[in-house]
């Protein structure tokens, strides 16, 4: 809700200002918007489908079973791979992570899951590549994955 409110408030303010200053330029802005939307539409649709598929297969129960069944280092690696692939809304991800932690998963494993979840987005990569390019996407996600593992390691040491 906050999201939608923020965006529409910004839009209303921006549009009003723009219309007062110049109708011509506002029209041009809409043209640019339309072109951008048209260009992104196919990858957006694909990403939507992929997100649905991963979440359909990797349900919270499934993730709990996978991460809970393994122990130690293997669990941490598995958790980071699952986190890197999926795109789970924080309202689902944090309660899940919290309950896994309470049911016995290590801090390192849960940190790996959370950090890769937010820093690496494999399902959204097609869109990122389309908009910002292959090199940027591979570097950002690759380095993000390594950083996420390092952060998980440090958190495991600091917090357990």
């Amino acid at each position: 809700m906050a999201t939608i409110l923020t965006i529409y408030t910004l839009l209303a303010a921006g549009l009003a200002l723009s219309l007062i200053k110049s109708k011509e330029k506002t029209k041009k802005a809409f043209k640019i918007a339309g072109k951008g939307f048209y260009k992104s539409a196919p990858s957006l649709l694909a990403v939507l489908g992929i997100v649905g598929l991963t979440l359909g297969v990797l349900t919270p129960e499934m993730i709990a079973k996978l991460v809970g069944a393994e122990a130690g280092f293997a669990a941490t690696i598995l958790a980071s791979v699952i986190g890197a692939i999926t795109l789970i809304p924080s309202l689902v991800a944090f309660p899940l992570a919290g309950s896994l932690l309470r049911s016995g998963a290590t801090v390192m494993t849960i940190s790996a899951f959370v950090t890769t979840l937010v820093m690496v987005g494999i399902v959204t990569a097609p869109l990122e590549i389309k908009e910002i390019g292959k090199k940027f996407t591979f570097l950002r996600n690759g380095l993000g994955f390594l950083a996420a593992l390092a952060i998980a390691g440090i958190m495991g040491v600091l917090l357990s």
Partner: protein, 175 residues
Amino acid sequence: MKTIKNFTAPILVLFVFLGLAVWMPDTAVRSSLVTWDYFKEMALILPPVFILMGLMEVWIPKSKIQSWLGRGSGIKGAMIAVALGTLPTGPLYVAFPMTASLIRKGASFTNMVVFLGSWAALKIPQLMVEIKFMGTAFAVTRFILTLMALMLIGLLMENILRRYPDKEWVANAKK
């Protein structure tokens, strides 16, 4: 023909859904429901985002973006990037087209990595949920470590992408 080529990816995804519907109908239903949920969210969020981008493209001159978020913007630029990223503005895919147009307008790669990273990892509403379920120590430690990591990755990527630019992307961006 070009239109069909553009839609190769979504058509492939559609086939996966059809395959699932035949062999694993339960999963197919679950996946479709999730996709539909995200579709509704996108339909609501994306049109205003693209219009805002258009307005930015038209009204904010390149020199402004360069001085706010460009290579010489230093710590101030990074702070602007973090502030923009942590605002409650929706899912990460919204940020990709924004980032692309900011780069075209002269923002540095460092600041854009920090921007995208804060958007995904340090969003304020998300932190509230994190504190509630994971505790303050967990959330604060992760926040600080992530911010440091983002700066490092950003500086590293700036160096790499300046030295070896993504030629394919640069050529496409000019169109």
